[in-house]
């Protein structure tokens, strides 16, 4: 058992370096658990853009009606006080559109409407200022809303000039409350089901991978050190026993990390985890553990230097996580990026997690692709393990 025990001594000594990755992960998991996610929807609802309005005109039924109309269709954001702060808010998309109603706007609108009634020529109507993100869909939508309101107002002002202003405001708002009936052909599948625990498991790819590369890398470096190796070979310990102990050591280490991370997810998301989806997520993370173990084993044997190992841990984990959709969802990544990513186990891990999150009915038809992708994940691990074993065999022969 000396070798097995030595594995844990090594891990214990290198705990600080590895705990960085676990702490980063914990922080991310806690932030994610606080974040809000869309609940599943059964009814269509309009998306609301974020709008701020500065009214330099008088408060009258027309501007009042406008603000009321916009409040129904947009989220009102506090108007930032100066241009610099407005720019900041726009840049960080805290607000999508800022509307500035200039002084005298209503009077000009009424005047021009009368001109257009008496005179069929083209009339230019007053405009309100807008600050928005050029060519964006949010800007287009808020344009639609604004023009819609003032176009209706113009028609009333032109053809019912005698109408009382308050009455006109209600007429306009009443007309604008007409909506085309909108239904889901199928229930919205994009927002439903993806629960917080899916994000948790996606982020797990980062910390599991990093701790494995560091932990197993360190164990390998120590045992591969020439003097120590020669001393072990000279001992009465059978080579097979040595190998089995080493294997058990690394596996136990991996299992402890795997169990710890999963226990945490049960602690944080108990309600989501004691479902079939939750159990499938655990199974998927186990498959991922096996295949990342193989990758870590390979890296531990190729990269000898300890410092280079920490560099490799960063490059490999950050690299695979970024292109596989851990930090940025897969649907936002380019096609070619995903094609490259499909050569990493992380890609399949994330893909399976999200498929599990979307699954609501557990029929073989729905589960088959999930198990299929898990199998690919596992085959990756086996292939890499195979490569490593061939590499080790060659090295052994060279040493002899």
């Amino acid at each position: 058992m000396q070798v097995y025990k030595a594995c844990f001594k090594i891990i214990k000594k290198n705990l600080p370096a590895m705990s960085i990755y676990i702490f980063i992960f914990l922080a991310m998991a806690l932030i994610m658990s606080k974040a809000n996610f869309n609940a599943s929807q059964e009814m269509f609802h309009d998306v609301k853009v974020k709008v701020a309005i500065q009214n330099d005109d008088t408060t009258n039924p027309i501007t009042e009606g406008f603000i009321q109309y916009m409040k129904e269709h947009a989220i009102f954001v506090d108007l930032p006080s100066n241009p610099e702060k407005r720019q900041d808010a726009l840049y960080y998309r805290v607000v999508d559109t800022i509307l500035i109603i200039p002084a005298g706007f209503t009077d000009a609108l009424i005047r021009q409407a009368q001109v257009s009634r008496n005179n069929s020529q083209e009339v230019t109507f007053p405009t309100i200022g807008k600050v928005s993100i050029p060519q964006s869909n949010t800007a287009y939508y808020s344009d639609l809303l604004v023009n819609r309101y003032f176009e209706t107002t113009r028609i009333y002002l032109t053809f019912s000039p005698a109408m009382d202003m308050e009455e006109m405001k209600f007429a306009i708002l009443n007309d604008l409350s007409q909506n085309a009936e909108t239904t889901f052909y199928e229930n919205d599948t994009t927002a439903s089901g993806i629960n917080r625990n899916v994000y948790y498991y996606n982020y797990l790819a980062y910390s599991l991978f990093a701790t494995f590369i560091l932990g197993i890398g360190t164990i390998m470096t120590v045992f591969n050190e020439t003097n120590l190796k020669n001393r072990t070979f000279a001992s009465p310990l059978k080579s097979s026993a040595y190998n089995i102990q080493l294997l058990m050591g690394t596996l136990s280490f991996a299992l402890i990390i795997f169990l710890g991370m999963n226990l945490l997810s049960f602690a944080l998301y108990w309600k989501y985890m004691i479902t079939l989806n939750g159990l499938l997520l655990v199974l998927n993370s186990f498959v991922f553990t096996l295949s990342t173990l193989a990758v870590s084993f390979l890296i531990g044997n190729i990269v000898k230097n300890r410092n280079a190992q920490s560099a490799a841990a960063n490059v490999v984990t950050l690299g695979t996580c970024f292109i596989s959709g851990v930090f940025v969802p897969q649907e936002l990544l380019g096609k070619s990026v995903l094609q490259v990513a499909s050569f990493t186990p992380t890609y399949w891990f994330v893909k399976v997690n999200e498929a599990i999150g979307r699954t609501t009915t557990f029929q073989w038809e729905n589960l088959r692709p999930i198990f299929g992708d898990m199998l690919i994940e596992l085959i990756f691990g086996l292939a890499i393990l195979g490569v490593t074993l061939v590499l080790l065999r060659q090295r052994q022969q060279e040493e002899r």
Binding site: F44, D46, T127, K130, S136, T182, T189, L318, G334
Partner: protein
């Protein structure tokens, strides 16, 4: 003497492969990954032509006004001249299939009213609905007015209702397109500057007699220690600033990050940023007398936390910090990334120079801090 010391320090630093990895290659790798990961982020908010289907039934055939309106927006409807909708006229079965396979955002059926079928509540679907709402809403207005005063019909009513006016004018306040993804890269540049602290930490380890054999050897050399320290830091600065230029060129020409066109201020910011990074490293290196691993761990943690505050992991973090906890915003990383942001966004340089002044204050803090820790250190025995 100057040339001799600087040359060997230079070689010494350049041969440290691990340091070159962390200070140059690692940021380059992150930038490449950011590029892959964030390149589609902006595409989500750009208005694209929305694919829809219209079920061709008798009700639709009879409604020529609706057909005309649809025709109009499937040509150039938006300010940039692109079509709003790409319309397929088909039967209901095919429309359902198209929607099922996500080929269209929704389809409509003209019956007694207008029925819209969609798959999700997105902005495209909202715009689609809003377009058909307009159709219903205008009809409601017309009915209302004709009901109140039937004579309005004589005054060119229909033509007036159908005419379209624009009630908006753009009032741009920014120098350039507010591209949020650039912010990730500005924060990355800030991280790059702070990773310059690797050089500072190494400098302290190598010159402090109680921390390395090399430091002990230097301690007995007949060179003024302050002079030695300044020369060494100068060598580090030359390397860090050159790497900075390489990194900026990589971001500009390979990744395509835009900093605006004011080269002078950009270089000034980079130069000051490099000094801040190295200064921070020396300060940490002199303050903490533990082993090198501990120093590096602390230095990486500080750099990462500050980069997080400046929005490297979550871009709105910088805005949240600036509005909710402004005091936290005066950290070196946020000041550097905000400097780039200010150069890109504003015509006025006042915000930029405010950031520069704060950074200069940090330089004074770090340098004097280091000086007071390492001055007059003597060792009776090590």
């Amino acid at each position: 003497m100057f040339i001799h010391l600087i040359k060997y320090r230079f070689l010494c630093l350049l041969r440290d492969k691990q340091l070159i990895f962390w200070t140059l290659l690692f940021p380059v790798l992150l930038a490449t990954l950011f590029h892959f990961a964030f390149s589609n982020l902006n595409k989500n908010e750009i208005l694209l032509t929305i694919p829809i289907a219209v079920v061709e039934n008798t009700a639709f055939m009879e409604d020529t006004a609706l057909a005309d309106a649809l025709k109009a927006v499937s040509q150039n409807a938006t300010t940039s001249g692109q079509a709003l909708f790409e319309i397929q006229y088909t039967d209901e079965k095919k429309a359902q299939n198209l929607l099922k396979n996500n080929k269209i955002s929704g389809y409509i059926i003209r019956g007694t009213g207008i029925q819209i079928y969609v798959n999700k509540s997105g902005l495209d679907e909202t715009i689609l609905r809003s377009f058909f709402n307009e159709y219903l809403q205008t009809s409601a207005t017309m009915m209302h007015i004709i009901h109140a005063d039937p004579t309005s019909l004589n005054n060119g009513f229909v033509a007036a209702v159908q005419s379209r006016n624009n009630y908006l004018r753009d009032q741009p306040i920014s120098r350039s397109y507010p591209d949020t993804t650039f912010s990730y890269f500005y924060a990355l540049i800030a991280m790059f500057c702070l990773y310059g602290s690797f050089w500072g930490v190494k400098e302290m380890t190598d010159t402090q007699a109680n921390q390395s054999a090399q430091g002990a050897r230097l301690g007995i050399a007949p060179v003024h220690k302050l002079k030695l320290l300044i020369y060494d830091l100068l060598a580090a600065l030359v390397i860090q600033f050159s790497q900075m230029l390489i990194f900026l060129a990589f971001l500009r020409y390979v990744i395509g990050v835009n900093y605006g066109d004011r080269l002078g201020p950009i270089l000034l910011l980079c130069f000051i940023g490099s000094i801040v990074g190295i200064g921070m490293g020396s300060f940490i290196g002199s303050l903490i007398t533990g082993n090198e691993g501990l120093k590096i761990a602390i230095q990486i943690t500080v750099s990462m936390v500050l980069s997080f505050l400046s929005g490297m992991m979550y871009v709105n973090m910088k805005y949240i910090v600036m509005t909710k906890a402004p005091a936290l915003g005066y950290n070196p990383a946020t000041l550097i990334s905000d400097g780039f942001y200010a150069l890109y966004t504003f015509d006025s340089l006042s915000r930029f120079y405010t950031n520069i002044l704060w950074l200069l204050a940090y330089i004074i803090l770090f340098c004097s801090g280091t000086y007071f820790v390492v001055r007059r250190q003597k060792y009776a025995s090590i």
